[in-house]
């Protein structure tokens, strides 16, 4: 077995000899077969693992948007006031999981207005979701420390309040937005502004994501009435 292998030095990085894999001419005998050389595999495995880890970290930090499937249960969010720097808003489509019990006649899709805010401060945040008669209630930021969030996006079907915008642009293409670092689908109406201030905010949401969401004075409870 040693004599034919002398022609093929066994350090891992030898460039392959001219062969076309499928060539049937393996004259050396049946005992010589293709094999994964570990050091050679590591040339790809190491950078690939690093890249995968980087993707995972970026996702965890919220720098990389990942689509997820919504539950289809709307929840209400209210706040006494919201202050934000870098604001975007555009239309979008959210998907529920297949055969979700909440899909009704919607086909599992909800048309939403996505609002993205680069950095937001909320006073007296309240969030409630109706679980069939009883409400899961989350309150935070009622004290002196306010709720803060970075890279906050909400997918809402209803939004009301008294709003003030600074440097607003209305009618942009959603794929060309710059103020909050989020883009929508091309060809969709959108608006963006440098600052936003909303008093007596009330939203019906289907999804909220944030890079960092700080909730000082968090209180979680069940209640008969929502927000």
């Amino acid at each position: 077995m040693a004599s034919p292998s002398d022609a093929n030095p066994s350090n891992g990085n030898t460039p392959e000899q001219p062969e076309s894999g499928s060539a049937p001419a393996t004259a050396e005998g049946p005992e010589r077969r293709g094999q994964v050389r570990l050091r050679r595999a590591a040339i790809m495995a190491v950078p690939a693992t690093l890249a995968a880890a980087a993707l995972a970290v970026l996702t965890a930090q919220g720098a990389l948007g990942v689509s997820f499937e919504i539950s289809g249960m709307p929840f209400t969010v209210t706040a006494k006031s919201l202050d934000g720097q870098g604001f975007e808003q555009f239309g979008d489509l959210d998907n529920m999981i297949k055969n979700s019990p909440n899909e009704g006649d919607t086909g599992g899709q909800v048309l939403v207005m996505t609002s993205a805010i680069k950095t937001a401060t909320l006073d007296s945040l309240c969030q409630s979701v109706d679980l069939g008669g009883i409400n899961l209630l989350i309150k935070a930021g009622s004290g002196s420390t306010k709720v803060t969030a970075t890279d906050l996006t909400t997918d809402s079907t209803q939004l009301s309040g008294d709003a003030t915008f600074g440097n607003i642009e209305i009618g942009n293409d959603a794929s060309k937005l710059t103020k909050a670092g989020v883009q929508g689908k091309p060809g969709v109406f959108s608006q963006q502004s440098d600052t936003v201030h909303i008093d007596n905010l009330r939203q019906t949401n289907y999804a909220t994501t944030a890079g960092v969401f700080k909730l000082p004075g968090l209180k979680l409870s069940f209640s008969d009435s929502g927000c």
Binding site: M1, A2, S5, N8, S10, T14, E16, Q17, E19, S20, G21, S22, A23, T26, E28, P30, E31, R32, R33, G34, Q35, V36, R37, L38, R39, R40, A41, A42, I43, M44, A45, A48, T49, A51, A52, L55, A56, T59, L64, V66, S67, E69, L93, N95, I97, K98, Q109, K185, P186
Partner: protein
Amino acid sequence: MPENLPQQGNGPAFRRWRARRPFWGGLLLALGGTEILLTEKVSLKVAMHIGMQGVTGYLLPVVMMLCGLLILFSPGQRLFYSIVGILCTLGSWVTSNLGGFFIGLLLGIVGSCMTFGWLPDQEPRSERKRRKREAKTATKSELQQQA
């Protein structure tokens, strides 16, 4: 080399076919693509409507699958296929349910790397280890002689 004798019942023809290509690498990559495809729930009609972003969710796992199959059936080009395969695998993290919820991503990465590291016509591993050890002891004794 008892392990390399054609085993009974395994089909010696298939065994020889398998020995000439990065079989497991290609298979894992193709399986990874299939797994990611199976996790996709958005109907194709909606995906087409959304446009390029919606379609890439399907495109990348299909390319993964094709690369896996091509590695099996045209192993001469395996380096190219494994590189395209790994790029699509990594891309599927963003486009397709976090790479089919990790599973497809993992299969794809392992498969591509195995394909990349595969070399045809190798002597058995035990043989290689023995030769390496011999070489090491040879250099060691040489050094001792010099000292």
